[in-house]
Amino acid sequence: MSQNVLINLDGVAKTFQTADGAQRTVLEDVNFKLAEGEIVALLGKSGSGKSTLLRIMAGLIPADRGKAVYRGSEIFEPVTGIAMVFQSFALFPWLTVQQNVELGLEAQGIAPEEREKRADAMLELIGLSGFGGALPRELSGGMRQRVGIARALVTGPDVLLMDEAFSALDVLTGETLRDDILELWDSGRIPTRGILVVSHNIEEAVMMADRIIIMSSNPGRIRSEIRVNLPRPRTVESYDVRRLIDEVYGLMTMRPATAAAPAANLGYRLPETDISLMEGVLESLADAPFNGRADLPKLSEETELPDEKLFPAFEALGLLGLAHVEKGDLTLTPLGRRYVQAEQPERQELFGQQLIAHVPLAAQIRKRLEQETTGSLPEDPFLDLLEEHLKDDEAKRVLGVAVEWGRYGEVYEYDYHTGRLMLPADEEA
């Protein structure tokens, strides 16, 4: 078994330093093997460290503890056998498609004639022949990612890492590209021995992978693993695939046992979501055909929103007690029903009440403001408070969410130019 393990992670951990010198653990004790001949999908919410994990395997960042090993030798810088496809394509805009594809070969010092031959062959394989002389900016998103894939494959890599490779594309283009890659893989026309896909799209993972790894957040750990023993090509409509998607949805939204009281601590990472999106989800949940209870994949289909947008919204709704998620279903709470039926001013009032009751950060801000005679405070102390728990850009983001929610719930106001928080004007003194 051991000779056909491509990548082996053994007890890998990664910590980042926050601004005030505190340590924040992003990855903890990750053990993982990528074997020859398999496609593995890495699923997790944002902040679960899956991108960090991918970058450790690519040799872009070092692990703090544990070992990352590629074919028996430890990884501490990018290796020739591992190539990567980027979410934002990462094409060099000033190089032609041909030159972009040749980049990796050029770095290896391969002769121009040989480079040209291999690049031509790869461009043809990936359906780009005739585009060699074009600049990336002339191409559509889907075509650009084809270039990104060709650039990665032309070096004949052993392992292909794909970092959310389809998420910047529209759904149809993404699916086409995905199927094309799977076809290349299954027909054995590329020398690649293993593929690792990082994604937050559940359907994508189920459609592609032989094995799905689900990561938990804070700190990132491998929470569960599912084997997919369905033959490819798979169809989304088939019963097996649907059942599997359902199962993964359930696993993804399951709360880890440790975070039983969800927002109990101040440093809770408030989800990045749009309030109007949250209300939109609540409304479609209340309406037919769901009438208060929805199967998550169905809801995703109905609202035509991708998972990476929906999950934060679910989390926020759960946090505020307006709906709750259980075993892959979203259920409207009585309060949520009241919220949906209420007029705008009452909605905002309810929102504010729930915010103070369930989000300690918001409650804290409100309490401190009430203690001030001027009813106003700079944001910095709160930022410092958050930075004890979070990386500083993350702390800023979380405070930003708290500010937006607080404004909507009319719990407090915020002046962008002075960076001060204050009680709403009509409540002062």
């Binding site: 872009l60 810088e77 990018p78």
Partner: protein
């Protein structure tokens, strides 16, 4: 980046292609440029002894020759500035410790007026080539270099630091070596900003041309053949017609290198724009179009790029088998050592400074110079304010009309290059005839060359205001002052600040020329730091030159730190 012309398609040998009509059009041009360069270069290294008078005639027939010499000098300086920028940016972006020292030094260098460098550099350069004019030539080139290099180096450094992270990662994953990275990623990414700064640098070079070419060393006046020296002689001889000729020659020169050098380069560099959002200001160049059509030129450029491309694989990254041994540098103790060295160097410098002031110039002189600095500061700020009041509304008006904006940009760029010395006859005439006080009426000269930075930055800012915003304002019925207050002024604020910072820095430098005006035997003088430095230079008093320049550096840096930088951050936050 090496794909100006598609390298793969055409045939391979020079012999089997017949020239087309574009070849016939381009060939004479190319040959003429080559011959001119060769001729100018041979003229540079003629025998010369200190004390020997170099004659500059005011006969306009000599002007083309002078122009050639000047432009050659400027391009040589530009080439060195470019090399300097490459080295500087590559080192500063790579090593944290070096960066800590290099970036502040650049800040200081940028605020040292050109005369300061000249005073230091002239003697060593002459000693380097005894009995040859090349020494003086080098000194002049060095002086021009100092008015060009700093902003280019800074722009390149900043671009390298802000290379998009995903491209950075891609270059790592595909294992590009540092050499390949520089040519494939960092330089192309920095190209648009670097080119823009090169153009600004050329303007800056013209501005101080007189000082660079009419070198005064140890009471001797050495004048190198060139437009700057021509202007200097014309001023001495009170020859107004010659001044007019000089203006014409300069205009011709700027037009020439703009059309033959910068336009083609800009048009070519268009593909390095990272975002498509940068507007539709695609640059066109007739010369580049010709070159692309000419078979011969295409052939040669293919050869050239193919060679360059081969050069890319000079350094290929080796597969490493052990972790990088950077442990020594990462050791916490090393940091303390570094800081210790820095602090020690700082203390020694302060001690030296105190000794210098105490022994050589005296504290009273320092106070006096400080006061003069205050006067010049007041002048700079007041005039920037006045220039803003005049130019901001005009610039916004122009910026909102794209049909004028491009043309005005070109004119403003020419005006920014206009050496202020060329205004001397007019100024002296006006001041003498109307008996005006130099202390007030010489001041406008300081912003004469620098106000254009405000103009063209604001024009650029105003033309970048989204059309929808303007439509929305009209739709809401915003009018008059309210429209300015809510739309135009906030929208142009960041670009205005950028322009004002450049203008302020330039005005300090210009004060040396502007506060001390001569026309033949007439000398008009305003009190201020600039005229102090100029007088001390004429007197050859090195200690006082150093003092004056030091004080000017301090003023400029304090002003930048505590005033412009804050405004800049404010502007950045708002946008």
């Amino acid at each position: 980046m090496f794909g100006v012309f598609d390298t793969r398609r055409a045939g391979r040998t020079l012999l089997n292609i017949s020239p087309n009509r574009w070849d016939w059009a381009l060939l004479p041009l190319l040959l003429a440029v080559l011959v001119a360069i060769a001729f100018g270069a041979t003229q540079m290294s003629r025998p010369f002894v200190i004390g020997q008078a170099t004659t500059i005639t005011l006969d306009p027939a000599y002007l083309p020759y002078y122009l050639l010499r000047t432009i050659l000098r400027m391009f040589t300086a530009l080439a060195f500035a470019l090399l300097f920028s490459f080295a500087f940016a590559a080192i500063a972006a790579k090593y944290r410790t070096a960066e800590k020292i290099m970036i502040p030094s650049l800040d200081i260098l940028q605020s040292v007026p050109i005369l300061g460098f000249q005073a230091i550099a002239i003697a060593p350069f002459i000693a380097l080539f005894p009995g040859n004019l090349l020494g003086v030539e080098c000194a002049a080139i060095f002086a021009i270099f100092t008015s060009q290099a700093w902003n280019m180096a800074f722009s390149l450094y900043q671009s390298i630091r802000t290379v998009p992270p995903e491209l950075n990662e891609a270059s790592q994953v595909f294992r590009l070596s540092a050499w390949q990275r520089f040519w494939r990623l960092e330089l192309p990414y920095a190209m648009p900003g670097l080119l823009w700064n090169m153009m600004m640098s050329m303007s800056g070079g013209w501005f101080f041309l007189v000082a660079a070419e009419a070198v005064s060393v140890a009471g001797q006046d050495i004048k190198l053949p060139g437009i700057g020296a021509y202007i200097a002689v014309a001023i001495e001889a009170e020859n107004g017609t010659a001044i007019a000729w000089a203006i014409a020659a300069m205009l011709a020169g700027i037009l020439l290198y703009d059309q033959l050098f910068f336009r083609p380069l800009l048009a070519w560099a268009d593909k390095f724009r990272f975002e498509e959002s940068q507007g539709d200001t695609a640059q066109g160049s007739w010369l580049l179009d010709w070159g692309r059509r000419s078979r011969l030129i295409r052939m040669m450029s293919e050869r050239f790029w193919a060679t360059m491309q081969r050069a890319l694989s000079w350094q290929v990254k080796k597969e490493k088998v052990a972790p990088a041994s950077g442990t020594f540098l990462a050791h916490p103790g090393w940091k303390h050592v570094q800081n210790g060295i820095l602090i020690a160097a700082f203390l020694i410098a302060v001690y030296q400074l105190v000794v210098f002031v105490h022994d050589d110039v005296g504290w009273e002189e320092v106070l006096h110079v400080g006061m003069l600095g205050g006067i010049t500061l007041a002048r700079v700020m007041l005039l920037i304010g006045l220039a803003s009041l005049i130019w901001v509304p005009i610039a916004v008006w122009i910026g909102l009309r794209p049909q004028y904006a491009q043309r005005v940009q070109a004119v403003a760029q020419f005006l920014a290059a206009f050496p202020v010395n060329l205004m001397f006859p007019l100024v002296v005439y006006l001041l003498v005839t109307f008996r005006l006080t130099p202390n007030i009426w010489l001041s406008p000269l300081m912003v004469f060359g620098t106000q254009w930075y405000i103009l063209f930055n604001v024009v650029a800012g105003a033309s970048a205001i989204p059309n929808e915003l303007r439509l929305a304002a009209d739709n809401l019925g915003l009018n008059g002052w309210l429209k300015w207050k809510r739309i135009y002024l906030p929208a142009i604020f960041p670009s205005y600040i950028t322009g004002a910072i450049t203008a302020s820095g330039g005005s300090w430098n210009a004060s040396i020329v502007a506060e001390y005006v001569t026309w033949g035997n007439t000398t008009l003088m305003a009190d201020g730091l600039g005229s102090y430095i100029k007088q001390m230079t004429d007197a050859g008093d090195f200690h006082r030159i150093a003092l004056g320049i030091g004080v000017m550096c301090i003023f400029v840096m304090l002003l930048n730190r505590f005033f412009w930088r804050r405004l800049y951050l404010l502007a950045e936050n708002r946008s």
